[in-house]
């Protein structure tokens, strides 16, 4: 589904990703762990196509297409979803308006019929309920006045409505208390299916107790330095990144 090959990327002329390679198959959940500043968020932004993150080498193929040649909205329509580490506040745009516009923009790009008002509301209500976010909060401006945990739940509501093929979740677990962590994990697990994949970026092991990954990778200094099964997360928790990177 996703093939990242020898990816190099820089910000302001500073190399951040330095030869990163990773292959994610359909139906798989991969966890990417690494210390602060390793380049985890940079990887997620490069996959989503954020301006300012310049790819200087390597390739990314998503469902057979050159992902790096696509604009951010085209990547979204193709099925890439980025759950942001720090979700953005947008005053004056309601969550419902934002989400409905996004869903229909994706459907239009894919040549599908737009969702009717009723169909959309049904999807949004179900997602909010599943994620434990009061539906009335979706009537407020995007993420405005939301707590850290509510913002993360809201990202998962968006994911549930948009039904991406590849979810890249950047520290979706940070800032969550244990109940929220459980609810959000269930949301991620519900999305697991043979034709979807998830890239879970985290630097704590605790999320992986709830969403058990098929593969765990350690990202240090802009490249994958070690890969393994779910047990690698436990080793990391015990020994830290330093011993792994050495």
């Amino acid at each position: 589904m996703l093939i990242i090959d020898n990816l190099h990327a820089e910000i302001d002329g500073k190399t951040i990703l330095n030869g990163l390679s990773l292959t994610v198959g359909a139906g798989e959940v991969h966890a990417i762990m690494g210390p602060n500043g390793a380049g985890k968020s940079t990887l997620s932004y490069v996959l989503a196509g954020r301006a300012g993150y310049e790819v200087t080498g390597g390739s990314v193929t998503f469902l057979g297409q050159d992902l790096l040649a696509m604009a951010p909205h085209e990547r979204a329509a193709a099925g890439v979803f980025l759950g942001l580490q720090y979700p953005v506040e947008i005053p004056g745009v309601s969550n419902l308006m934002f989400l409905r516009t996004a869903l229909n923009a994706q459907r239009t790009q894919r040549g599908e019929a737009e969702a009717s008002g009723a169909e959309f509301m049904k999807l949004a209500r179900a997602a909010a309920e599943d994620l434990g976010l009061p539906f009335d909060m979706l009537k407020r401006s995007v993420n405005q006045g939301f707590s850290g945990g509510e913002k993360k739940r809201n990202e998962m509501v968006q994911m549930a409505v948009l039904q991406p093929k590849l979810a890249v979740l950047d520290e979706t677990d940070s800032g969550l208390d244990i109940d929220a962590l459980r609810v959000v994990s269930e949301g991620i697990n519900r999305m697991r299916s043979p034709d979807r994949a998830t890239l879970l970026i985290t630097h704590y092991q605790r999320l992986l107790d709830y969403v058990v990954p098929d593969h765990v990778h350690v990202l240090v200094g802009g490249r994958i330095v070690r890969s393994g099964g779910a047990d690698l997360a436990q080793i990391l928790e015990r020994d830290g990144y330093v011993s792994i990177a050495a």
Binding site: G49, A71, P72, H73, G92, F98, A105
Partner: protein, 243 residues
């Protein structure tokens, strides 16, 4: 109002004087809002695109009266909305102004709000977007007379500039002769939030749609005080048509 204004006239320093000449002479209008009553005025530059239009309106609010005025402008080559508002005891004046200026358009809102009695309040919210080499201007003077104790006056101006050649001017001015007053004003000129644009695009909105959504949200701040839902929706539809 007979002689044509000149550039030396402070209230006309950003105006398109050649276009103003086409709209000359201006017929002043006057409105009195009777004590304890309420009135709303919607203003738009409805004339054909490329036209020049000047409205010059004097408004007197008697004690306890409320007057709300909303300006939604974006069609005329030159559009000027000048309001001279006098507030008596306990009156309230609400102004929401939306200026959408592109190409070589020059759009301006010019207000003088005089708090002539005690306990009057005024709130002016102006939101502009300017592209091309357009100019959007807000000149807002708040005057508080000796009798204007407990005045509460607020002015908020925010502009988005879409192109390098576009200009936004804001000049709030205070002239205060009472001592117990609250006058707040703020002015900012900026661009669309890049992080918000990326967020919208990453969810599937094409860049133009993302920009339009953020611009509309920014401008509709000025219409948020329209209490009646259907009136507000109608105003927002007008705004949308200008984008």
């Amino acid at each position: 109002m007979t002689a044509l204004p000149t550039r030396r006239d402070e209230a006309w320093r950003y105006a398109d004087l050649a276009a103003a000449a086409r709209a000359w002479p201006v017929t002043p209008e006057a409105i009195t809002v009777a004590a304890g009553t309420e009135q709303t005025l919607m203003l738009a530059d409805d004339a054909a695109p490329g036209s020049a239009g000047i409205r010059q309106i004097a408004v007197t609010l008697e004690a306890g009266a409320r007057f709300a005025c909303y300006v939604i402008a974006g069609r005329g080559a030159y559009g000027r909305f000048a309001l001279d508002v006098t507030l008596h005891a306990g009156a309230h004046f609400e102004l929401g102004g939306v200026l959408v200026a592109g190409g070589e358009q020059v759009l301006e809102i010019v207000t003088t709000v005089t708090h002539a009695g005690p306990g009057a309040t005024s709130r002016q919210t102006i939101r502009c977007v300017a592209g091309g080499t357009a100019t959007a201007t807000y000149l807002g003077k708040v005057a508080v007379t000796r009798d204007g104790q407990q005045t509460d006056a607020a002015q908020s101006f925010k502009a988005l500039l879409l192109d390098r050649g576009a200009t936004a001017n804001a000049k709030p001015e205070l002239e205060i002769f009472a001592d117990d007053v609250k006058c707040a004003h703020g002015a900012t000129v900026g661009e669309l939030d890049r992080t918000a644009l990326f967020y919208l695009e990453s969810r599937g909105l094409p860049p133009a749609a993302a920009r339009a959504l953020l611009t509309r949200a920014f401008l509709s701040d000025a219409l948020a005080s329209i209490a009646d839902d259907s009136a507000r929706e109608a105003a927002e539809a007008r705004l949308e048509a200008l984008l």
